[in-house]
Amino acid sequence: MKKVHPAVVGAQPFQLAEHRPVERLFEDAEGRDRLEKSLSRYPEKKGALLPMLAYAQERNGWLSPEAMEEIAEALDLTPAYVRSVATFYTMYAKRPVGRYWIQVCTCISCHVNRGEEVFESFLEHTGTRAGEVSEDGRYTVIEAECLGACGFATVVQVNDRYFENVTPETVPEVLAQLEPGEPEA
């Protein structure tokens, strides 16, 4: 079990290539630990909602209706409320996505530095259409709004990693670096 300090329990990377799926989130020691530590950081139970949504995605790779129901129960909220919050945020995957969730920024600074072409190049090299999971389950490519690294356009985020100064030509290099064992960018 990964040991996490209570101060940062609600700030763990939740988009990962490796998933450790569980049917019930809070029935093993890790799940209960995360829940209890999160609850200890907010004066109201509801404060732990985003951390727990993130945790479900970290474990399962996406946010299933069952996970949302379990979170609702743990925090004394209605499932409808939890769904209404989860759907507000774009990073919670409401259905399964590829192991590599590739977000290509096409916002203004990347837009003027060939962002759209980089996006097209990712679609081509992964053989997918926008938002779809590739046949081998590896990739989902989407266009993203500003990723907050505009000076290093075009910016691409893959799960919990950033790739900067990506051009349509360097897309294959980025994809190659995703495989385990490859050095960090």
Binding site: P13, V85, T90, C107, H111
Partner: protein, 425 residues
Amino acid sequence: MGFPHDHDLEIGTILSRHFGDPKARELDTWLTYGGYEGLKQAVEMDPGEITTIVKDSGLRGRGGAGFPTGLKWSFMPQEKSGPHYLCCNADESEPGAFKDREILRWVPHLLIEGCLIAARAIRAEHAYIYVRGEYFPFTSILNDAVVEAYEAGYIGRDILGSGWDCDLTVHIGAGAYIAGEETGLMSSLTGGRAEPKIKPPFPAQSGVFGKPTTVNNVETLAAVPMILINGADWYRQWGTEKSPGTKLWCCSGHLVRPGNYELELGVPLKDVIYDVCGGAPDGKKIKAVIPGGSSTAMLTADELDVPSTYEGLQEAGSSLGTASPIVLNEDTNIVRAMRRIADFYAHESCGQCVQCREGTSWVAKILKRIEDGDGRLSDLDTLYDLCEQLTGRTICVLADSVVFPLRSSLDKFRDEYEALIGGRA
């Protein structure tokens, strides 16, 4: 070697001096750089004394609006009737802005120290750092620093043996620009949709979890330790009466040397663009600059000789915003660039206000039509009308944000719109 570039105009205060130096993230090294000296002073001081120094320094909020920081702190109740909270806004999502992430990833202990000093000044017992979800790699660096600081007694119970307690929690969002608006941030932190709320009540009266709260930007808080250590006059050696100090710039778009630079407030904008960043690559001319991030009014290449202060850019009809100039070269299709900006605001509208929800999408649709060659001259009137309807009528200023670049593009680059329209009435 500077990071990622070096320039004579750069001022390397503790804010940016250690960018690019991974050792600065570690507490042991950070202490040899003077880390936590400000906190040592702060725990011996009254909250009011800290606030006075920050007030005198003239430090203004670096999140975009430029509100005086010490004044904001003084709005917090002096007598406590319950918990107070500090929220550090690390949601950084304004297109063009990428400075807070440099602070998170190179000098996380500086931010932690700033949060604690501010928390002491506003009598808060808990500080939350709300980081945008996408910033996983930088949040992980911050997380490590927070755990280290807890273990060394800089955060938590009886800080530095002073008897003062303060907790700090890192909290991440999940992809919503509007969570950067301070009331949206508070809604999100309490486990809600990041929907802004009407003010009053102001955060200092009823903020996160219904308690008095102060929201400050990362860069604002990171500037506090050096001000406390060196004094208000020291900080005022840079900048102007109304815009003292240094500012972390984020320069992007068509530039030879894009990136982050710490510069004195008041440097002429044209020097930032041409001298510091080397102008546009490939010998191209510059057509327009959006000086303060995508929500500020465009300036033409002829309008760049202005001092980069809050007041200077305001006089020039734009705004310093987050000091994040986006540079567009002579080949840029202004209508297409403006459409891409409008798409952003349409996508990020939280949908609570009809004017904003409908208006921003409407703007994006009309611009797309013009871009695709299907526009009419009457569309330009409609766009001006929409500018009126999107100004000052909504819960937050996201709606106004699209108006600044839009109106300025219509006023200054009308010929480009007309060329695409080709005379259709």
